[in-house]
Structures are given as C-alpha cells and as structure tokens.
C-alpha cells in the first residue's frame, strides 16, 4: 500500500517536472499570488478569468495551472490581511485580528515569515493525507450506486449551504437557486428544453464561467465602486525581518499543528467553506490559550493557526473533488467544471483512468508550494506596491478581461448577456445579505443530483425508502438530518442569547464535527 503510493507519487513527480507542465504550474502560482494580493479579487475571480485559456490546453497543465492559482491566491491574501488590515478575501479576515497589530508593532515581517512557514507545513500535511486517503476513499466509492451518490451530494449541498457565512436558511435558499440554474437547458433524459425562454443559445444550459464572473466579478464591482476606501501603507520590509526568532517559532509550533488538524478535518467534509475553517481554528486557539485576553493584540498563535488551517484545507479539499466528483466549495466546483469541459468525468475511476492528472496534480502541489516560498521572499516589496493599485483603475480593466474571457468560451457574444444578468442578480442578492457562493455549488452539482435522484427512483420503482435502506446511503442521510437538527438548534439557542462575541459564532460547526 505505502510502497505503491510512493511509486505512484514518483510517477507524478515525473509528470509535474515535464517542461510545459512545470511552466504552467509556475504561471498559475504566480498569477494566483498576484491576484490574491489585489484587493477585492480572490481565487474565484482569478480562476474564472483564466478558465477560458485552458480550453486550448492539454488537461494536465490546465488543471495544474488552475490548482496553482487556487493555493497561490491564498498566500497572496495573507499579505494584505497582515500588512494593511485588508482581507482580500473572507477566509483571511480572521488573520487581520492579530496580524495587523503585529504590523503596527513593527513585527509585520515576522508575521509574514510565520505565515509562510505555517502554510508550507500545513500544505505538506494536507498533501500527505491526500496521497494516502484518496485511494482508500476510491475503493469505497466503487460500491456507490445512484442512491449513495444522491445522498452524499445531499449532504455536501446541505453542509455547503448551512456552514458557509451568514444565515443557514439563506444559504439553503441560494443552493436551491443554484439547482434551478442547473436545470436550464436540454433535459438529458427526454430532450425537452427547460427554462430556455425560447432562446436557442440557452439549449446547452447556462455557462459556468459566465455565472462565476457575473456573481464574483461584476456583482462585486457594482457593490464596491465608489465605496472602496483608499488604503495606504508605509510598512517597510526587509528580507532580514521575515526570519522569525527561535522563541517565536516555538510559540507558533503547536498552534500551527492544531490549525493544520482543523483544516484537514474540515477539508475532508464536503461543503464546509474556508472561512468557517479559519474562524474555528482561531476560536480553538483562543479557547485553549492561557492568555485568551491577549488575542487581538498581536499574538503569533492568532496568525499561525488560521493560516495553517486554510492551507491544509485547500489541499485536503481536492480529495472529495477528485475521488468522488463532489466539490467541497465553490472553487472546487469551478475546478470540477474545468475537468468536465476537458471531457474528463470526475469520480472514483479518475485515479485509475487518468493517473497523470491525479498524481501529477499532487506532485505539482509540492513543487508549487516550494515555488511560492522562494517567490514570496524577494517579491514581497512588489506585492506591497501592488496593494496600492487604485481600485478605480483595477475594476474597469477587470471588466474588459471578463468580457473578453467570457466571449472566448464559445466565441459568441451571447454569454456576456448572461454575465450582465448574473452580475445584477448577484449584486441584488448580496445587498440583501445572501452569500452567493452556494449558487455555484448548486449549479455544478444540480444536473448530477437530478440524474442520480431519477435513476435511483427508477431502479427502486418509485420507492423513496431506497435512500435509507442501503447502509452507506442511510449513513449520509442520517448525518444530513443531524446537521439540519444541529443548525436549527443552534439558531434557536442563538435567538435567546443576545450579542455573542464574534468568534463564538462558528461553535455550532465544531459541535457538528464531534
């Protein structure tokens, strides 16, 4: 088993070190890092803008590049959070709490250094888990029939919508809306056009890239234009400052290990978002710390644990995506979409059918993380400069990239109408305080959910109890039910107790895990 995995891994390194693969992986990491630093741009916008580029590429470099953008942008996001108190995307919001006070105390460099060490450690652990857990999961997954697949998707959708940010009910509503968006187009079983409004271009369904760019690009611009306050930083950094002292490393070690554990656990559960993970890691640190009152004033543990958790989660997230075909969050849904566009069906057979993609991806994670370490040390000055690119230049340029990017998906202008529509829908929903990420999850999983639901009931002759009669399926249904109960209960409890402290909110997530 172990020697087998090592042999496969060796093969993976062979794939990842091939000239063009290595180049695209490097490119993805660099672009991801760059875009992660820019305020208001996260992994989602970066991947959706570059997704059309992958249509003409071989699947292996395409996936390596997209994955590189994903974890590259997480490195970038931490920089803005620590140096400018500006979370480029939500998971890093919690890093601000202790990272920015460290910068004000003149220890911003140390905080960045600690972040990089933690990220690398956590990513390495995540990769190891992925190497050994994926084949195991695949072995189980081969026993899955339509009933099991439906039940696990149900759990994924429920977890994704209830455990993301904000109200669980609104999350569920957004997932259902996403499922409806997935219905648009030709029904595979009967060939009926559904919800196409008589527009022939809609017969193939809505375009994933158009939805993603509308919701995460245009909608964000509409809400932020003339609302974004200017940021300035006079943080001066030298490479020498970034090397933490022995005492600081010791202080960071156990929080780093605990953060990695939290991230690994949450990554393995489909549907838990990255934001909740970093919040739980931070809450855990504060709870077991001897000096909880010092958190928020520049504790190293408050930087190390959340950053470690977000990076191990990022890697472990790929396990359900690649071995079950069930994406954990919106970014994974996009990567899954990219695989399907390449004509590769994700699922248990992926590892045996396309070993070059799976093992190449794992090996490239490691190479990519090493590149990021090396890249970030000399480039830190450049990133700080980039943080000061004014938003008023950034968003008009991004509008152009979005328009051209969407056009290139099918060489047709029609998709731009979809972007505009989803931009306005997204802005309205975000204004009403819905979080839009579950829409993407629902959209990607929708057709699969419907297909498996119909197939399972066709096989059982319309008997709904099929979902609880089969043991594996029943387990997932029971977990889903427990999840709903726990969320309902904590919402009901939360109504009684007024104004809980911020980091106490994710506690309900912990309770579900235990």
């Amino acid at each position: 088993m172990v020697s087998n995995a090592l042999h496969d891994l060796w093969f993976g390194f062979g794939v990842a070190f091939q000239g063009s693969n290595l180049m695209w992986s490097f490119f993805g990491v660099l672009v991801g890092n760059l875009i992660g630093v820019l305020p208001g741009m996260g992994a989602l916008s970066a991947i959706s803008i570059l997704l059309p580029l992958t249509y003409v590429m071989h699947p292996v470099p395409a996936i390596l590049m997209l994955a590189g953008i994903f974890y590259g942008s997480q490195y970038g996001g931490a920089i803005g959070a620590i140096l400018l108190n500006l979370p480029s995307h939500p998971p890093h919001a919690v890093t601000c709490l202790d990272g920015y006070p460290m910068t004000r105390a003149g220890k911003g460099g140390t905080a960045l250094g600690i972040t990089m060490i933690c990220s690398f450690f956590a990513a390495s652990v995540g990769i190891l888990v992925m190497i050994f857990a994926s084949p195991l999961l695949t072995a189980i997954a081969f026993k899955f029939g339509p009933a099991e697949i439906f039940s696990i998707m149900l759990l994924g959708l429920l977890a994704g919508s209830t455990m993301s940010r904000g109200s669980p009910l609104k999350g569920v509503a957004m997932t259902l809306f996403g499922l409806l968006c997935g219905v648009v187009g030709t029904d595979v079983n009967t060939g009926t056009f559904r919800f196409a409004l008589g527009i022939p271009e809609l017969s193939d369904g809505l375009e994933l890239v158009a939805i993603a760019m509308g919701l995460f690009g245009v909608a964000d611009f509409i809400l932020n234009v003339n609302r974004m306050t200017a940021v300035t930083s006079n943080a001066k950094l030298r490479i020498r400052d970034m090397r933490p002292s022995m005492a600081e490393l010791k202080q960071a070690f156990w929080p780093m290990v605990r953060g990695t554990g939290v991230g690994t656990l949450f990554g393995a559960m489909p549907g838990t978002g990255p934001t909740i993970t970093t919040f739980v890691a931070y809450a855990l640190e504060r709870k077991i710390s001897k000096t909880p009152e010092k958190f928020g004033t520049g504790m190293i543990a408050g930087v190390a644990a959340p950053e470690a958790s977000s990076h191990s989660k990022t890697q472990v997230d790929f396990i359900p995506t690649m071995s079950l075909g069930i994406p954990g969050d919106a970014v994974m849904a996009l990567i899954l979409g990219a695989l399907m566009i390449q004509g590769i069906a994700p699922g248990p057979q992926l590892i045996s059918d396309h070993p070059d993609i799976f093992w190449g991806l794992i090996a490239s994670f490691w190479i990519g993380n090493v590149i990021l370490m090396i890249l970030n040390v000399p480039m830190i000055g450049v990133w700080v400069k980039l943080l000061q690119v004014p938003y008023r230049y950034l968003f008009p340029s991004a509008m152009f990239f979005i328009a051209v990017g969407v056009f290139s998906t099918q060489s047709s202008l029609f998709q731009i109408w979809e972007v505009l529509a989803f931009g306005l829908i997204g802005a309205l929903l975000m204004y009403l305080e819905f979080s839009v990420a579950p829409i993407l999850l629902g959209f990607v999983l929708g057709p699969m959910v419907e297909e498996n639901f119909r197939r399972a009931l066709l096989l059982s002759r319309g008997d709904l109890s099929v979902f609880i009669q089969r043991p594996i399926s029943c387990t997932f249904v029971v977990i889903s039910a427990l999840l709903v109960t726990a969320v309902t209960w904590s919402a009901w409890r939360g109504r009684g107790g007024k104004s809980k402290p911020v980091v106490e909110v994710p506690d309900s997530g912990l309770a579900v895990n235990e």
Partner: protein, 161 residues
C-alpha cells in the same frame, strides 16, 4: 446596522425567494412531471421550486429573529453591503452593453475602448483623461495579448456579421 433595517432586508429577501420558487413551479408544471418511478422533465424543477418557496417563507418569517451576532462579523466581501452607488452601477451596465453593441458593429478595439472607458467613468475619482488613457492601454493589451497571442475569434475592426 439597525434592527429595523435588517428586518426589512430579510423580509424582501424571503419574498424574492418565494417569488422565484413559485415562478419555477409554474414554469415546471408546463412540462411533463410524471410519477416518482418515472419522472418527467418537470418533476425536479417543480420540487426544487416548491422547496425554495418554502425556505423563502421561513426566511421572511424569521426575519426579526436574526440578532446582532451576524452584523458583528469582521469586514469582508459578501455581507453587510450598503446600497450600490447609482452612477457606478449605471456605468458598469452601460459599458457592458456598449461592448455587446460594438462587438457586432465595430470590432474588438472599439468594444474594448467602450467597456473600459465607460466603466472607468463610473468611479467618481476618475476624470475623462484618465479614463481614456486607461482605455487606450487596454486596447493595446487587447490587440497584442488577446488578438495576436491568444487568437480570439473577434476581429479588431468589423461592421456587422
């Protein structure tokens, strides 16, 4: 954010979901729904639409219950937004429409100039000169990177067709 304000937002949000859900049910009923053992194309949309309407009712009815715990979340994207700026929104929408128009009657260069120029004017801190400079720079990128290097199938200049 005040309690009353929050109540209103959840109320309208829930109502919107009920509306969308009911619309999906109405549209789905026009297709064949079939039975559980032999589902038609309309079954799934009707079921999801009904669920969405139900959740919408729950959101609207629990609108008051959501206490301050969420409003305290640290600054980030996606939550607690103020109403969008009118000028910015109009310019972004107009810019996109201009790209669609000039994409057919004009070609890539005019379309690029239009979308960047018009959306740049949406930011109150940009003047016409800055917006034009940015738009010209983007046109250069469009010509070199997208048209020449990536071979995007949108001619630089065209008229119709």
């Amino acid at each position: 954010m005040s309690q009353a304000h929050r109540f209103k937002k959840d109320y309208y949000g829930g109502a919107l979901m009920v509306l969308v859900g009911l619309a999906a049910v109405a549209a789905g009923l026009q297709y064949h729904t079939g039975t559980l053992s032999r589902m038609g194309p309309g079954f799934f949309p009707v079921a999801v639409g009904a669920l969405l309407a139900f959740v919408g009712v729950l959101i609207a009815s629990s609108a008051r219950g959501q206490s301050a715990s969420q409003a305290e979340q640290p600054a980030g994207h996606g939550h607690g937004h103020a109403a969008p700026d009118l000028r910015g929104t109009v310019c972004i929408v107009l810019g996109t429409l201009a790209f669609l128009l000039f994409g057919v009657y004009g070609g890539m260069i005019p379309a690029t100039f239009a979308i960047v120029f018009i959306s740049a004017l949406g930011d109150r801190n940009n003047n016409i000169k800055q917006a034009a400079a940015l738009a010209v720079a983007m046109c250069v990128i469009a010509a070199v990177v997208f048209s020449w290097l990536l071979q995007i199938q949108l001619p630089l200049f065209t008229w119709g067709g």
